[in-house]
């Protein structure tokens, strides 16, 4: 019903009625049978109603059009938004897709890196700035006898402990990882790494700081050097055995030459005596070389004993100067000795003190021109006895200073003066003193002379049990 009485139908209805009324009026006006003013009145009413409905209909249609226009524009805007959203959705899907690809790529790279890390034959342990492990590779697991899954995010110190070659447990403060974390500097060396079950293996290691826009921690790389040590040991044992075997023939040559030079077996002609002296001296040099090689092999094998006794440095110096007496005399050297009045005796291995004095004084004698001066010094402070040997000799070339204690090294300038040196003396002195808790160092100026200092702990040297003496 409501649809029947809408504005459009009313306009049509009133218009139709007005037409009917107008037609009726026209027909009656020709016939003049009916009072036409009434028809005219109703015609007027219906025309007015028709106009009213028409106006209303037009107004309504206008507002509907406006509304339609608005709706159309809003629809358009909505369509734009939807299109934009769709574009965004596509873009988002694209980004998601790219991210997935990126993630897959990263996953692949991570897997590959892990495979590489796991396949490294050396042990690798990464430690964060907090001292906790975050990478333990397969080789590290195997060598240390630990499981990576139980070892990650643990303090590196709780995983394994380390010892030096003298079986001293390295304290936390001296741990190379701790030092590398604190100093941000690479540290290399070798220690014995201890497994949780108490067994251990010798390892060469490097600890290097890791940085990426700031410190991330350090990475420890280590390698089992048992095999290398065995080879080294075999080499030292061979040197030791060969040297022992050499000693008997050298003794025989030495003793028979000595007997020939003595008067028991008859007088020798001057030339015979001279030649025998050459044989005797050459033999003596060979004995010294064998002794030096034996000392080196014992140091390298760690098989020499430290036998403690009360050491009087003045007496040992006297012994060494007596031994070197002939050379001191022939080169007319001035020997300046210190006042030992305030130097007390101390507990040490007299052989080591003798060895240090003997090597340093013999070097000074060899490398100082005739008529030069050798000054011995002795200072006792709170903790340390420092002994020194100063000469007016050829000195050490600046560029070779760092190699002077290296095994078999000889500085260029001394090779010209004394071609026969072994390059073992200072190595032996430094190693023997290190075992005795002392050290050796020098100051030198090429062409003017050198001073070598060596120390021994005032508290006394610790004894060391082994089979062999340091010659």
């Amino acid at each position: 019903m409501a649809r029947l009485f809408n504005k459009r139908n009313l306009v049509i209805a009133t218009f139709v009625i007005a037409i009917v009324l107008a037609a009726t009026y026209t027909m009656f006006a020709f016939q003049e049978s009916v009072s036409h003013p009434v028809i005219l009145k109703w015609l007027g009413i219906f025309l007015a109603l028709n106009t009213l409905w028409l106006v209303m209909l037009l107004r309504e249609q206008t507002s509907v059009k406006e509304l339609q226009g608005s709706i159309v524009s809003k629809n358009k805007a909505l369509a734009d938004v939807i299109r934009e959203l769709d574009d965004s959705r596509r873009a988002l899907l694209q980004v998601t897709d790219d991210l997935q690809k990126e993630r897959d790529l990263m996953e692949e790279e991570k897997t590959r890196d892990e495979a590489f890390l796991a396949s490294i034959a050396d042990g690798v342990i990464a430690v964060g700035e907090d001292g906790k492990t975050y990478v333990v590779n397969r080789a590290a697991e195997e060598m240390l006898g630990i499981k990576a899954r139980d070892s990650i995010h643990k303090s590196y110190h709780s995983l394994f402990q380390i010892q030096d070659e003298r079986q001293r447990l390295i304290p936390e403060g001296e741990h190379p990882i701790k030092i590398a974390l604190a100093t941000r500097k690479k540290k290399v060396g070798s220690y014995y790494f201890m497994r949780p079950n108490g067994s251990m293996f010798p390892a060469a290691f490097s600890v290097a700081p890791v940085e990426n826009r700031g410190p991330l921690g350090v990475i420890l790389v280590f390698r089992d050097i048992t095999r290398e040590l065995e080879v080294d040991r075999a080499k030292s044992e061979f040197v030791s055995l060969a040297s022992h075997q050499l000693r008997t023939p050298l003794t025989i040559t030495s003793w028979y030459t000595e007997r020939l030079l003595g008067k028991d077996v008859g007088e020798l002609k001057p030339n015979q005596k001279k030649y025998l002296m050459q044989i005797y001296e050459a033999n003596r040099r060979m004995i010294d070389l064998v002794n030096a090689l034996l000392s080196v092999s014992r140091i390298d094998l760690g098989t020499f004993v430290i036998q403690l006794a009360t050491v009087n440095p003045e007496l040992i110096l006297k012994e060494v100067l007596t031994e070197q007496g002939p050379l001191i005399k022939s080169k007319k050297m001035n020997i300046m000795k210190p006042d030992f009045k305030n130097i007390p005796t101390l507990i040490a291995d007299p052989k080591i003190v003798h060895l240090a004095f003997q090597n340093l004084i013999s070097n000074s004698l060899k490398y100082t021109p005739a008529g030069g001066t050798i000054t011995i010094g002795a200072i006792m402070d709170k903790d340390t006895l420092t002994l020194s040997v100063t000469d007016t000799g050829c000195g050490i070339p600046k560029k070779q200073e760092d190699k002077i204690f290296t095994k078999l090294f000889r500085a260029d300038n001394v090779k010209e003066i004394e071609p026969d040196g072994t390059g073992l003396g200072l190595y032996i002195v430094r190693s023997a003193l290190a075992w005795a808790g002392g050290k050796v160092w020098f100051t030198s100026e090429e062409g003017k002379g050198s001073t070598f200092f060596f120390t021994l702990p005032r508290a006394g040297v610790k004894s060391k049990t082994a089979e062999k003496s340091l010659v």
């Binding site: 000693r247 008997t248 030495s254 007997r259 020499f304 049990t465 010659v471």
Partner: protein
């Protein structure tokens, strides 16, 4: 002149043994020699030398064993013994010298005249 001192040299290397024997003879010693510990022990107990120079590494019986056997016998309890060696096994020698031997010396590091000096010192002749 004092009585001649008798020295027993136990050493397996013949040239070393002979050099020492000649040197001690020229120093007016009565010299006995043995090439190994077994013979050395028998000679030491039988001839009762004033001093024994004893090599360490020898066939049949080494010097350390010979010293222990010698000390086990009342006839060999007091004779001074000086070890001669070219090996550096000083720990064992030092252990053996504690109350048992007068000392030890490395042959190649000593002049033969220094060996006779050391023997004379042990015998209180210097």
């Amino acid at each position: 002149m004092a009585d001649k001192k008798t020295i027993l040299i136990v050493e397996d290397e013949a040239p070393v043994r002979e050099a020492l024997a000649d040197e001690f003879k020229s120093q007016k010693f009565e010299v006995l020699v043995a090439p190994n510990g077994e013979d050395g022990l028998a000679l030491a107990l039988q001839a009762k030398p004033d001093i024994v120079l004893l090599d360490v590494v020898m066939p049949k019986m080494d010097g350390l064993t010979m010293l222990l056997r010698l000390r086990e016998d009342p006839k060999g309890k007091k004779v001074p013994v000086i070890f001669l060696t070219n090996y550096g096994e000083t720990e064992k020698i030092v252990e053996a010298t504690k109350g048992n031997a007068y000392g030890y010396l490395i042959k190649s590091n000593w002049k033969i005249s220094e060996v006779t000096d050391k023997v004379k010192e042990a015998l209180g002749m210097k």
